[in-house]
Subunit: 242 residues, 2 copies
C-alpha cells in the first residue's frame, strides 16, 4: 500500500489517499492520540470522486465516535477500467424495470462480476490496513453495495459486524449466501428507494442467518437517510466494535 | 381522577395509582424537581397486574430520560368487566390460526370493540392527567395495542408522536385509518412475533400517512425486544417531545 497524499480536516481527522496496486483508496483516522482504533470499511456504489462528499461526511461522523474508516474504488468505477458487460447490464436493468419485466438474469450480470472482483480487493485492502500501527480489530463493514457486504460477511472472518444499506438489487445466489451470515447486522432500508425492490430487501433481511439482526426502514428515497438513522447505525458499531 | 396510593421507587421515580371512574391506572413521574415534564401514554395488551413488571421498567427508563409515563387498564382486562364476545373471539382466533384459515372477521370482533371503548377512556385520562401541575404537552403514545395507538393518533390532536409496537392483529378499518395519521412514528416489529402477522405489520407501516416514520424490526419473538431497540425508541421521543 502506497500513501499518495495526506491532509488534516477541520475537525482534526487525518485523510490519506492510497493506492493498492491499481486500486485507489482513502483512509480517515480520528485526530485523537488514542493508540488503537477500530476500523470500518466503508462501502459505496462506485465512483470515489463523485461519492467523496458523502463518504467524508460518514467518515467524520465515525471518527467522532472513535472509528477509523477506509474505502477503495470499486472495479469498473472512477478511473478504473470498465467491467465488460456491466455497463450494458445497467442499461438493460433500467429498460427492463421501465417495462415492468422480471430482472433476475440482468441483476446477476450487473452485480455478480462486481462482487467476484471487489471482494478479494477489499480483503487485500484489509490485509494492508491492519498492518498500520493504529488500526486494530475488530473490523466493521458499512454501507452498500449490499451484495459485496453479504459476501464479505461470509468469507472474511475479520469482519465482526456489518451495517448494510439495502439500496441495490440482490442476485439469488447472494440471497442464498445470506443464510450463512452469522455476525450482528444492522440493515438500513429506504422505504421508497427508487433504485431498489422493497420486497427483495425484506426477503434478504429474513434470509440472514445472524442471531442479532435489526432492520431499520425510514420513509424516503435512496439518498434520504435521516440523520437519526445514521446515529443509530453508529451506535450499532459502538456496541459491537468497541 | 382519584389517587389511590403513592410510593417512591429506588431511583426516585414517584409511582401513583389512580382511578378514573371505574378505570384504574398508574402514573410515574421522574424524581427530579424540574417543573414540567412531557407525558408518554404507555400502551399494553391488558392486565395491569401481570404487565406491571414490564410497565414499571419502561416507565423508569422513560423517567431517566425526563418523561412522565401513565397507563390505564384496558376494557375487559384485569378486574374490569369482561367485554362481551371478546374472550370468545380470542379463542376463535387461536383455533383459526392453528387451522391456517383467514382471520379477518375474527380480528374485527377481537380488536374493534376494544378500540371503540378504550380510546375515549385514554382521552379522558389525558384530560385528567394534563390538569396535574407538572404534566405539560406535548404527549406521546408508546406501545400496543397498535390499533388503539392508530385510532388515538388520528382522533387525539394532543398526541404529537407515537412509538407503536406491531404486536397484534389489525382490523382492515384500522389499516384504512392509518392513512390519516400524520404525526411522527417509530414502529417496533419483532420479526418472529408468534402473536402477529408480519406482512400485516409491514402493510400497516406502509399505510401510515406520516412524512416521518421509522420501522425497526429485530430478530426474536413477542417479548424479545432488545435493549438497544428500547433506547432507540426513547431517543425518538426525545427528538419529538422535548
Amino acid at each position: 500500500m502506497q500513501f499518495t497524499n495526506e491532509r488534516r480536516l477541520d475537525d482534526g481527522v487525518v485523510e490519506r489517499g492510497f493506492s493498492l496496486g491499481d486500486v485507489p483508496g482513502i483512509l480517515w483516522t480520528p485526530g485523537s492520540e488514542s493508540t488503537r482504533v477500530p476500523l470500518i470499511l466503508m462501502g459505496h456504489p462506485g465512483g470515489l470522486g463523485k461519492m467523496y462528499p458523502r463518504l467524508v461526511g460518514r467518515a467524520q461522523h465515525s471518527a467522532s465516535m472513535g472509528f477509523a474508516s477506509a474505502t477503495i474504488e470499486l472495479p469498473g468505477s472512477g478511473d478504473r477500467p470498465r467491467l465488460v458487460g456491466v455497463d450494458e447490464a445497467r442499461a438493460d436493468l433500467r429498460q427492463t424495470l421501465a417495462a415492468g419485466e422480471p430482472v433476475d438474469g440482468i441483476v446477476d450480470r450487473l452485480i455478480l462480476p462486481l462482487v467476484e472482483q471487489a471482494v478479494p480487493e477489499w480483503q487485500a485492502a484489509l490485509d494492508a490496513l491492519l498492518e498500520l500501527p493504529r488500526l486494530g480489530g475488530p473490523v466493521g463493514y458499512s454501507g452498500g453495495v449490499i451484495a459485496i457486504g453479504v459476501r464479505l460477511a461470509v468469507v472474511e472472518p475479520r469482519i465482526a459486524a456489518a451495517g448494510l444499506f439495502a439500496g441495490s438489487y440482490v442476485p439469488a445466489t447472494i440471497l442464498e449466501e445470506a443464510r450463512q451470515v452469522t455476525i450482528p447486522l444492522h440493515v438500513l432500508l429506504q422505504w421508497d428507494d427508487e433504485g431498489n425492490d422493497r420486497q427483495m430487501a425484506l426477503d434478504l433481511f429474513d434470509a440472514f442467518g445472524s442471531r442479532e439482526k435489526t432492520l431499520q426502514a425510514n420513509l424516503g428515497g435512496h439518498t434520504g437517510v435521516p440523520q437519526h438513522a445514521a446515529e443509530d447505525a453508529a451506535r450499532f458499531f459502538l456496541r459491537h466494535l468497541s
